[in-house]
């Protein structure tokens, strides 16, 4: 079976099958779903960070022409509650109190959104404001009060230390401390969240259209929270205009929309506007790390102690809190690609009167990288060493894999040192210092920043993956064409293309003859969905396993129909033939016809038809991608404005399925990293009002903010199916650290080191004026 060993589509730069519909305006996103009689929802949301509700008056709204119904907690009292994990849960419509600005209080169901919003303005809610809890460090101390009287503010606490930590730390010749702060950011998918629901009168089933990353998880959540058996819920995920982790949750609005559709037996839809999305999409990255580092005179880091704190917002996002995800994972990968023997961590996750914290691409990663790479640069500066050299001295060596880090995480093989050396060459690190020195004399401040990253992917339990496996159903139709279905929930990653590439190689059918279905719980086999960079390695692995099993079946058919040995059968281009005798061939279409209609000819032991489902659970609980980003920046010390001028990436995500798609993911992640590093911050004022509620206040990178990105690939295969590693998050994990290290490097004459994400022009100016003058 030589043919099977020679994949043609895997690794090829195939154009995406998704593109034509998206380019021509024919793709169907959530708000494009419109059925006769469909009602639309607008929410009355809390204007207070914290208040008791003394009364809700909906009479005028109920009477407003075009309004179909008004719902309060009384009509819809579902609680988003992960009972086993947390003591509190968010009522989908506020029950007697509000705990963050933007919290849904009343839902108006009307003939269209304009009318619903008019009526929303007529609702009067009597609030009695109470002091909001806004400061993470105070909240840990239960100050100024408990957010929820029934629960301590700290809802997650964990301590860890390697044996002998204290002694190792104390004995080290050098120490430094630093406090790192990441400010709240959020995913800002260009398509906002949205949900539509309708009841099928005949079956009584409810069909929910949801802009989500995980169709089966959404079905589970709806079923579980609303007590509807799963077989009566169908979730369909239409085209999704970006998710980035933010669409991995079940939100209050999802439940309200479903409840309204069930209650009023009408199709109901809600689509978020941008203000709602900035206020109520899960936030991320609200973390503080108080770090102490012990190292020797060569720059070898011996021990890191980190107190990790995260502000989880008012409620645990359902069904997982981003605060726990960010801190607990950061604490386990804090040593990054470095061989640091000792680690001690303490984690506090607290409630506050802010929007719940959830996932945003990279989750823990951008924070941990910011700290780990910031630590390395601080050690280098402290000792007057080159920061690349300090990285070399600390890096895990090729002979050390599988490597168990100080937190007990096991890294599979990677190309850590090689990726850095190649990235240094790519950016021209040697020549840079001379250029930097020369321009500095002219009053121009250039800087270079290195970020070597590890990216744990395909984790058995990631934010979107309710389960550690994925499933793939393959059906070769009687025509010989292929329909395959997976439980993934893509939002731009091109899974219809990459999964078809994988299957085409296995079945020997033409890529064009494969259709990939996803996102409909009626057709897709149960799976975890998309998130945590699991779709490539686990989804792709499932496609590979299913493809292989189907291939075996095709080979059996061909061998029997061509009267040859199975070992002599080759497949390709829609045909099966006897190796070396291309004339003795049979079309896969003919095999399919046989399998479905000429059942007497089916070889013994094979079932009728060509359809099977395979599930794939990787043996390793996680596989690590890695790579190095190097950013070059220029800082204007008079305005504080930072320009990212050059950017190099060497990326290793194992075996590539489609290099072009991988590069697209990297570019996008770097752009988001630029946003994370210098632009994007959600800002609350002292009353707990979110003041960044438009895209004029919350700044996303524009086309002129992102430089050309030079990308090279290394391929260190995983031990899993196909050697595939995940890669959706690594670029955003690495980029902020590279950029802020470059800013710190540029500001070396002023002694400054960036300790806050994002670093804004006023902060840069302060670093310039606060430092010593040259």
């Amino acid at each position: 079976m030589a043919q099977a060993m020679r994949p043609q589509m895997m690794g090829a730069r195939v154009s995406r099958v998704e593109d034509p519909r998206l380019l021509s305006g024919q793709a169907r996103f959530l708000d494009d779903i419109q059925v006769p009689g469909m009602l639309e929802v607008a929410f009355v949301r809390s204007p207070h960070a914290a208040a008791r509700i003394r009364g809700i008056h909906t009479e005028k709204a109920v009477q407003y022409p075009g309004v179909h119904a008004v719902l309060t907690h009384q009509e819809c009292s579902v609680l988003l509650w992960e009972r086993d994990t947390y003591k509190v849960g968010q009522p989908v419509l506020a029950n007697g109190e509000v705990c963050y600005v933007g919290q849904p209080v009343v839902a108006i169901v009307a003939e269209n959104r304009y009318v619903a919003e008019d009526a929303a303005e007529l609702v009067v809610v009597e609030y009695e404001p109470v002091t909001p809890v806004l400061d993470m460090r105070e909240s840990i101390l239960e100050q100024p009060r408990r957010v929820h009287p029934e629960a301590e503010n700290v809802f997650f606490h964990k301590k860890y230390a390697t044996p002998g930590f204290d002694e190792a730390f104390a004995k080290a010749p050098h120490h430094l401390t630093a406090s790192f702060r990441t400010n709240r950011q959020t995913a800002v998918s260009m398509e906002p969240r949205g949900t539509a629901a309708m009841v099928d009168a005949a079956s009584g089933r409810v069909t929910v259209y949801a802009s989500t990353q995980s169709p089966h998880r959404m079905r589970e959540d709806i079923s579980h929270l609303m007590e509807i058996p799963e077989h009566l819920v169908r979730v369909i995920v239409p085209e999704v205009g970006g998710g980035f982790g933010m669409k991995a949750n079940c939100y209050p609005e999802d439940i309200v929309v479903v409840a309204a559709a069930l209650k009023y037996k009408k199709p109901v839809k809600w689509v978020s506007d941008r203000m709602e999305s900035l206020e109520t999409d899960v936030h991320a990255r609200d973390d503080i790390h108080d770090v102490e580092v012990a190292f020797d005179g060569d720059g070898k880091i011996i021990a890191i102690r980190d107190h990790l704190m995260a502000d989880g917002g008012a409620y645990p996002a359902y069904p997982f809190s981003g605060a726990v995800g960010e801190t607990s994972l950061a604490s386990r990968v804090l040593t990054g690609p470095y061989d640091i023997p000792h680690l001690a961590t303490e984690i506090h996750c607290t409630y506050s009167n802010k929007t719940p914290l959830g996932a945003y691409r990279g989750v823990w990663g951008p924070i941990a990288s910011f700290i780990q790479e910031g630590v390395v640069d601080r050690v280098a500066r402290h000792l007057g060493l080159d920061s690349a050299e300090v990285r070399r001295r600390n890096m895990i060596r090729p002979g050390q894999f599988p490597y168990r880090n100080a937190a007990g995480m096991v890294y599979d093989e990677g190309s850590y040192l090689q990726s850095m050396e190649e990235a240094l060459t790519l950016i021209g690190y040697e020549g840079f210092r001379a250029r930097q020195a020369k321009l500095r004399e002219e009053g121009r401040y250039l800087g270079i920043g290195i970020s070597v990253f590890v990216e744990p992917t395909a984790m058995a339990s990631s934010e979107a993956g309710s389960v550690g496996y994925e499933s793939c159903t393959i059906r070769i139709e009687p025509s010989g064409k292929v329909t395959a279905a997976l439980g993934l929930g893509p939002s731009g990653q091109g899974h219809e293309t990459t999964m078809a590439q994988i299957i085409a190689d296995q079945l020997g059918v033409r890529f064009e003859d494969i259709v990939i279905l996803h996102g409909d719980t009626d057709s897709a086999p149960f799976g975890g969905g998309t998130g945590g960079s699991r779709s490539g390695p686990i989804g792709g692995g499932a496609a590979l396993v299913a493809g292989r099993q189907m291939r075996e079946r095709l080979v059996k058919y061909a061998a029997s129909l061509l009267e040859a040995g199975e070992e002599d059968i080759e497949l390709g281009n829609g045909q099966a033939w006897v190796a070396g005798v291309p004339d003795r061939s049979i079309a896969i279409r003919t095999i399919a016809e046989t399998a479905y209609t000429n059942v007497r000819k089916i070889p013994e032991g094979l079932p009728i038809g060509l359809e099977l489902t395979a599930r794939y659970l990787p043996k390793r609980p996680v596989t690590f991608s890695n790579g190095t980003h190097i950013a070059e920046v220029e800082v204007d010390i008079h305005t504080g404005v930072v320009e990212v001028t050059r950017y190099a990436v060497v990326n290793d995500c194992g075996t590539l399925i489609n290099p072009t798609i991988v590069e697209g993911q990297i570019h996008g992640g770097v752009a988001q990293g630029i946003g994370s590093a210098i632009l994007e911050a959600l800002h609350y004022d002292e009353d707990g009002q979110l003041v960044t509620t438009s895209l004029l206040d919350y700044l996303l990178p524009e086309s002129t903010d992102v430089p050309r990105i030079d990308v090279r690939h290394l391929e260190t295969p995983s031990e899993g199916e196909g050697g595939i590693k995940g890669m959706g998050e690594g670029s955003l994990i690495a980029a902020p650290a590279a950029i802020v290290n470059a800013i710190s490097d540029a500001l070396t004459p002023f002694d400054g080191m960036v300790d806050t994400l994002p670093v804004t022009p006023p902060m840069v100016l302060q670093m310039v004026s606060g430092g010593r003058t040259r």
């Binding site: 998206l22 380019l23 021509s24 999704v240 506007d273 697209g664 570019h667 086309s703």
Partner: protein, 162 residues
Amino acid sequence: MAAVEDRISIQLQVNGRQHQVEVAPRWTLADVLRHQIGLTGTHIGCEQGVCGACTVLLDGEPVRSCLMFAVQAQGHHVTTVEGVTPETGLSPLQESFRDHHALQCGYCTPGMLLTAQALLDRNPTADEGAVREALTGNLCRCTGYQFIVDAVLAARDQGRDE
């Protein structure tokens, strides 16, 4: 229960066709294109005039259809992404977007295409700087822009060769 809102009848010229639609004066052009005329290729990303997802051409110039009332578009030629798509296949610019992987989720794409098309019509020799400048009003969260810029530049070169 019907809304009391007054509706007026207007004529809109969209993609070369006349449409007679009943609209409330406050309905945006984006909403009317999407929900009254059924051209859902025009997307809404912010309704704040910032993201550019709703970009359409008004007499060949890019405008934000979320900031315009439908009534204001009377007497003008509106072009949406559906209008720049050939009956079969894709336009050269659309092909170039596909060849260069200039889209991921595709939500920003219609707006990008229209802004880029208007740029190339106006300035067939636009360089990378001009392309990036023209696209600053169109936010893309997925691609990091590089492949979009490449696609526009390649379409430009192709236009030159023809």
